[in-house]
């Protein structure tokens, strides 16, 4: 009896897996459509009101449901942040898309990520750039992400467990750096490891609630400026008529 049950379960899995996978494709496509619509309608973070094609393609390709705990799979393609354990979250797809777009990465770029989390942001970047170096401070989370990225074939992502404050000097300099871990100040070693002309991105706020994004730009002369960017189009006062 037990064997019949196991066989039944196996057959069910075999039959439904492609269908589910296909279902995820549809959901992912809808999610990206939603992100694009949001950006066109309300988002004002950059001059243009559309994502770059490479970011759209990456978002279409990376299977978000494989980066969330099993309990969250059903909600993987909602345009919302989700809990991934250890008090951490996978960012809202809209924010991931915006951050990736703001970094203006190219296929030849080398990126440093501080705060691997689920590995989703690293995977999106890895679809576009040459290599991603990612550091995670919470060991179990970093280990899971490293295994996940490896099993999904992201050979251009390297994950290191430990302190991100000093960056990854052996691989420096980087074309762009993304600091998704909570930052009370920008570590000077990271700024040093950013190439002149490079961009660093830091989301600020609470979990589940990214308040604004900070884009640090290192000019060719080595001087640094930052931009504080609200994800949403919002003017803080009513204009006089």
């Amino acid at each position: 009896m037990k064997n019949y049950f196991a066989l039944g379960a196996f057959l069910y899995f075999c039959c439904t897996f492609p269908a589910q996978s296909e279902g995820y494709d549809v959901l992912r496509h809808k999610m990206v459509e939603e992100v694009l619509a949001d950006i066109a309608a309300e988002v004002s973070y950059s001059e243009s009101s559309a994502l770059s094609p490479s970011v759209v393609a990456a978002m279409q390709k990376v299977e978000r449901h494989l980066f969330v705990p099993a309990s969250q799979t059903m909600r993987a393609y909602f345009n919302r942040p989700l809990p991934i354990g250890y008090g951490q979250t996978i960012s809202q797809p809209l924010i991931v898309a915006m951050m990736t777009d703001l970094m203006q990465v190219k296929d030849s770029d080398k990126i440093l990520e501080i705060g691997t989390g689920s590995g989703y942001q690293a995977a999106v970047l890895a679809e576009i750039v040459k290599s991603v170096y990612s550091i995670e401070i919470i060991h179990p989370l970093g280990k899971q992400a490293a295994e996940r990225l490896k099993s999904l074939g992201y050979d251009n992502v390297e994950v290191r467990l430990g302190d991100g404050y000093y960056g990854w000097p052996e691989a420096a300099p980087f074309d762009a750096i993304i600091v998704t871990a909570a930052a009370n100040h920008v570590p000077p070693p990271l700024l040093k490891q950013l190439k002149p002309g490079g961009r660093m991105l830091i989301p600020l706020g609470m979990h589940f609630m990214t308040q604004y994004l900070m884009l640090v730009e290192k000019k060719m002369d080595g001087s640094v400026t930052s931009r504080q960017i609200l994800p949403v189009r919002f003017v803080p006062f009513t204009r006089k008529h």
């Binding site: 949001d38 309608a41 309300e42 988002v43 004002s44 345009n79 919302r80 942040p81 809990p83 250890y86 008090g87 951490q88 809209l94 924010i95 401070i137 919470i138 060991h139 989370l141 467990l161 430990g162 302190d163 404050y165 909570a182 009370n184 100040h185 920008v186 570590p187 000077p188 700024l191 600020l204 706020g205 609470m206 979990h207 589940f208 609630m209 990214t210 308040q211 604004y212 900070m214 640090v216 001087s223 640094v224 400026t225 930052s226 931009r227 504080q228 960017i229 609200l230 994800p231 949403v232 189009r233 919002f234 003017v235 803080p236 006062f237 009513t238 204009r239 006089k240």
Partner: protein, 804 residues
């Protein structure tokens, strides 16, 4: 056989337990979640009191023959549900941060409400039962009930100084067991062996229950838990007091490096630090100091270092010194003396004793004096000592501040009157420096700027624009307010300081628009535009048009962190999934939600069971409902508003709440007792109107006189101030103790079956009243809350005449 008497001792103890439990839950849920969710949950839980009256009304006929037994069962319910409800509530996977993303969280919140209602339901049922059975003795029963509550309110504060909250819960459970055992004696139950059982259980609970049994599990998203997930993090010290649970964390592998908003040009790193968390929020840090000032160079790269580039070797007063970061900053910049004011004795002790060597004996260094005091109170009382610089430290954590989680908290640190006091405390040419987190769109910094403008105007300064400077980095904003005009030399120094650190000038006297927004670019130079508008004749127009509430906070409306406006919230809510959600200040809508839920639950708990029950034809008159509704509301209005009025005088939020709350309840108990005696001796119906008239006169008198009186007596010793407070509260409290027992005694003679309803209505009104009082205070101020309470008491007099 002697006639049964009300179980006075048991009622007093039970009442003490229930009120202590309420205070304790505030602590526990502040540790587990965040302050305002704690407030929300407890408000809902207290509705259990109202619900108990309803159930009592429906079951009273069945209960009456078994009154004593039912009382003991209900009291046992308190015993078991106090710890059990909290334990079960902790198992509910409620994540408030997901509340707006995930509807299941609403169901989780509801589950917590229902669980937490249970102990209050049982407590309310026990006391309501006594009122029902011994209604004619209501004066003395109510007196004992609120006397117990009063003693409980102060007792639990004392208890929390001695033991952590989880152990305090065990102590309360033990006390509730004792109360039940005493009830068996007082109610003359036959099953005397139950006394032994309860005493035995009390012994087991108090002595044998392991500490781990009532472990508190904070949300995984609180700062402390996030930190403890990091490899190498370990808790090295824990302290607990009613002011908060302090946790010190060390990480030798991945050290703390706390330098909020450090310049992007900086190359220095902070030395080793220990993280200090209060109720799991933070961190603030305790920085290792080996006496070498060079290691503190990073502190010169923060916006808060600005005043030290204008003033030479100033005498400094740091308000909210915490573990000493701002003291170190002052020492680094050569301050000649530093007075550090910190409220929490545990934090001082960590620096002064436990980690003295690590901190380089900071609080005992030559030139540094540490004062255990509330910041505003300290400045008020030390008018004889002046400083060149007052630094108001950045104490709240960025994440909590950015999520608007403080907006319900009263803060007397940033009001117009506070800034006025600080400015008058400075030496000639001295300045006040306040650093806040940079929030987008700008909120607190512009509100602070508006507050400073008002404070200067109040001081008679004709041109406030000449005395204000504001700079901003990428994460912090620092405002300087000088008590004379800034000189050209000072402005040059300020510009140089900002330029070399890539901080932007947000405002200085004579600033041009093209000087704003250079290093940390915003879409528009919002800070400069805001500052200019606030200094212009168009100020009110700008405040009206601004989409956040940035009008200055005052002592009467001390809600500095309240930025909410309905219009902009609607606009942001419509864009919630596009990133609008985090920009809404959530505390205020949550307070409104709390009020709505209290109204709805009250209707559900009172009206619905009434409407569907077979007793609907025997309904108490509408006047009964209105009377008990109005006195419940008015009592809470008075109590909450006067607690706030006394906080500034007693100069300590915790002691003020403990003393004032206890005094109100104890004097109200005396008033209630006297009412009972009076009722026995006379048939006069004038004592409620008399009490209300006296209350009205006293309230108006206090509103007019207290500010001046408090200012004149502020430098008295704590003992003298407490005595004065008690004397002031006594007549008010006595009068407030009259209406409730009068109403119950009246019902006991005319309509005893209405007593449970009266109890239910009064219970619900108390909950609604507490929330409504805060909302009214936010919008209209505490003075209006007091006047409204007087008015409602006046209406209650009219309702009383119709009560028969």
């Amino acid at each position: 056989m002697t006639a049964l008497r009300p179980p006075f001792v048991a009622i007093g103890l039970l009442s003490a337990c229930v009120l202590s439990y309420e205070v304790l839950l505030m602590r526990l849920f502040s540790i587990v979640l965040w302050h305002h969710f704690a407030y929300m949950i407890i408000s809902a839980a207290m509705l259990g009191y109202g619900a108990s009256g309803t159930v009592l009304a429906l079951l009273k006929d069945k209960i009456a023959p078994h009154f004593s037994l039912v009382y003991v069962i209900a009291a046992m319910g308190v015993v078991f549900m106090m710890p059990l409800s909290f334990l079960l509530a902790q198992q509910v996977p409620f994540n408030p941060l997901e509340l707006l993303w995930d509807k299941i969280q609403l169901a989780n919140l509801l589950a917590i409400y229902l669980l937490m209602m249970l102990p209050f339901f049982c407590g309310g049922f026990s006391i309501g039962l006594i009122f029902f059975r011994f209604g004619r003795d209501a004066g003395r029963i109510y007196a004992i009930d609120i006397l117990g509550a009063g003693v409980g309110s102060i007792g639990v504060i004392a208890l929390l100084f001695l033991v952590p909250p989880s152990k305090a819960l065990i102590a309360l459970t033990t006390l509730a067991l004792l109360a039940t055992a005493i009830a068996i004696v007082e109610l003359k139950l036959r099953a005397k062996w139950l006394i032994g059982v309860f005493l035995g259980l009390a012994l087991i609970v108090s002595v044998m229950l392991p500490d781990s049994w009532l472990q508190v599990h904070p949300s995984a998203y609180k700062d402390l838990n996030q930190t403890l997930n990091i490899t190498g993090a370990q808790v090295i010290e824990e302290r607990s007091s009613p002011l908060g649970q302090i946790t010190v964390v060390k990480n030798s592998l991945i050290p703390f490096r706390y330098a909020p908003g450090m310049s992007l040009n900086a190359t220095d790193e902070p030395p080793a630090q220990l993280g200090i968390f209060v109720d799991g929020n933070g961190p603030s840090v305790l920085t290792r100091f080996d006496g070498k000032l060079a290691t503190l160079a990073y502190l010169d790269q923060l916006t808060s270092a600005l005043p030290y580039h204008v003033l030479e070797r100033p005498s400094v007063l740091v308000l909210g010194a915490g573990a000493g970061s701002d003291v170190l900053q002052a020492l680094y910049h050569g301050a000649v003396t530093v007075d550090a004011v910190e409220l929490n004795h545990n934090v001082i002790d960590l620096v002064q004793q436990r980690f003295r060597d690590f901190a380089g004996n900071l609080y005992n260094r030559h030139g540094v004096r540490v004062h255990k005091a509330e910041a505003r109170g300290f400045v008020n009382t030390t008018y004889d000592r002046r400083h060149d610089l007052i630094q108001v430290a950045l104490l709240d954590s960025f994440s909590v501040a950015s999520a608007g989680l403080y907006s319900l908290s009263e803060s007397y640190l940033y009001t117009v009157e506070a800034l006025h006091t600080y400015l008058n405390h400075l030496t000639s040419g001295g300045m006040l420096a306040v650093t806040r987190w940079l929030t987008l769109p700008p909120r607190d910094s512009l509100k602070l700027f508006a507050t400073a403008v008002s404070a200067l105007e109040r001081d008679g300064v004709s041109n406030p624009a000449a005395r204000l400077v504001m700079i901003r980095g990428w994460k912090t904003v620092t405002l300087l307010v000088k008590n004379s005009d800034f000189t050209t030399k000072e402005i040059t120094a300020i510009k140089e300081f900002s330029r070399t650190r890539s901080f932007d000038m947000a405002y200085y006297p004579g600033m041009r628009a093209d000087e704003a927004n250079h290093y940390n670019l915003l879409e528009q130079p919002y800070y400069f535009d805001g500052a200019v508008a606030l200094l212009s004749s168009q100020r009110q127009d700008f405040l009206d048009r601004y989409k956040f509430y940035i009008e200055p906070a005052t002592d009467d409306r001390p809600y500095f962190f309240h930025f909410f406006k309905w219009n902009s919230a609607g606009e942001l809510f419509a864009m919630r999934e596009q990133g609008g959600m985090p920009l809404i200040d959530w505390s205020y809508p949550l307070l409104v939600t709390t009020l709505v839920q209290a109204f709805m639950a009250s209707a559900l708990l009172i009206l619905t069971p009434l409407a569907v029950s077979r007793f609907r034809r025997k309904l108490p008159t509408v006047w009964v409902a209105l009377y008990f509704l109005s006195i419940g509301l008015a009592f809470m209005f008075m109590e909450i508003a006067f607690i706030q009025k006394f906080i500034l005088f007693l100069a300590h939020p915790l002691y003020a709440v403990a003393v004032v709350l206890c005094a109100f309840l104890v004097f109200a108990a005396m008033g209630s007792w006297l009412t009972g005696r009076w009722q026995e001796k006379t048939t006069s119906r004038w004592h409620v109107p008399l009490a209300v008239m006296l209350m009205g006169v006293l309230s108006l008198l206090y509103l007019a006189v207290l500010p001046g009186l408090f200012q004149a007596l502020i430098h008295f010793s704590d003992l003298a101030k407490i005595t004065i407070s008690l004397l002031l509260i006594a007549p008010l409290g006595l009068c407030m103790g009259v209406p409730f027992p009068t109403g119950i005694m009246r019902l006991a003679c005319t309509a005893q079956e209405a007593i449970p309803w009266a109890w239910a209505i009064n219970g619900c009104a108390s909950v609604v009243g507490a929330v409504l009082a805060t909302l009214l205070a936010i919008h209209l101020g505490f003075a209006v809350v007091i006047l409204t309470a007087t008015l409602i008491y006046g209406l209650a007099c009219i309702f009383l005449t119709k009560l028969v």
